[in-house]
Symmetry: D2
Subunit: 138 residues, 4 copies
């Protein structure tokens, strides 16, 4: 289980006056992809935060290849690419459902921190989460 | 001091494919108007939250008379209309700077609560804020 | 067919530092409810715009009764309440799935216009849409 | 004139339940930085679109070094780094006003297109804009 698929229907509020989905609207989609991945893995982000962790974004790179449009369904493939120490990287692919064209590819790196935003080694503090994340690479 | 004026320049991300500012984008503007009002009054919302209060929205009514457009500056007039117990009401008027046409009128009611979202009577718990809010009506 | 139900999972990006969904985030949800209603009715908003119409918001009233929270699913019930001339009103009810508590009630009035934002009488210009909207009241 | 400075006050709606500005909220800020740059250069983005051009985003890379917080003013430095053919790159630096700490660095590449989203060589179609952009490197 390294990949998870989510379906997204671009909302009217996501568009801008260029007639396409505004580039900033992709980021909450990717976040939803991450959340769906964690749920499928058996440890939700909700639970992660409930247990005192946070996962702030460290860096983003995103290519916009073709435009997403209002009400044209897209598939989001979220893949956990790396996990080491207090850092995770996801790769996101956004695909137009109608013709399976690739619209966007992104990579987002997150830090796992405590509530004071300090990176934590979950191997020591959260064995369950650590194992589930590691199992994604088997 | 019952009225406070803020200047807003609609951002590209605020627009939708209809070519106008999306109706949801007005709400963060009104919130900014409230914040400017509180700062001018001498007790910022930042300080209010720092002191253990929250101000969730209870209800909103908003009329959209004319469309706001990208990069066309608007003036926002924020007026404290009512303050009683744990409730405040603001009236917001959005005016196009170029021709002073009224674009939108809104009324938003807020509750003053503690961190558990329970309404609090600030007359007892925060005399300074209570006085400053009351002085707005003199 | 006067009511349509949509399921929404509040996203992380919808929250604010109060720990609840920001009040502005409800408006794109309601818009999604309207879109789901139109699709179920057999004439999508996408199609409506494609045929040269727009549906700008005229006014909104919204009560916030209980807070929506991150990742706690909500049901949105969208009801067409009125349709006359170039105006439509929807009523929206937002219900927490877990305990069926009512979180929010809203009423939004829209205008049906041409691309120049002028109200149009669709009885004359778009018989198909006019009939489908009227059939919602039978 | 290769650099332009904008002042931004993070809004309450920009925050998330982590207590910091959500990472997606930076993108509309950068867009505002680009707009301020163009205005200072003497050819606004408004004008650019009015003259039949669009400037969709091609790719983004953004590092989040420290968190922006509600109501803590930030300075945004926008620099035109490259301009060639139908492509422009901006570099954005986000600096906390209080202590001049660098919060974020981003690079965004844009395409200059016609209304059909096709890249255009503005050297041929818009001499005025072409010269103004080139003068930024002198």
């Amino acid at each position: 289980m390294k990949c998870c698929e989510s379906k997204i229907i671009p909302r009217y509020a996501d568009t801008d006056q260029m007639g396409i989905v505004h580039h900033a609207a992709y980021l909450p989609w990717f976040e939803t992809g991450r959340d769906d991945f964690f749920k499928k893995m058996g440890y939700s982000y909700y639970q992660l935060e409930h247990n005192g962790h946070l996962m702030p974004v460290l860096n983003i790179s995103c290519q916009y290849l073709k435009s997403a449009k209002y009400d044209e369904p897209v598939l989001l493939r979220s893949t956990l690419e790396k996990f080491k120490g207090a850092r995770l990287s996801f790769r996101y692919e956004l695909i137009r459902e109608a013709d399976l064209k690739l619209l966007s590819v992104a990579k987002i790196e997150y830090s796992i921190t405590n509530r004071a935003y300090q990176p934590i080694n979950i191997k020591k503090t959260n064995q369950e989460l650590w194992e589930k994340l590691n199992n994604c690479f088997n």
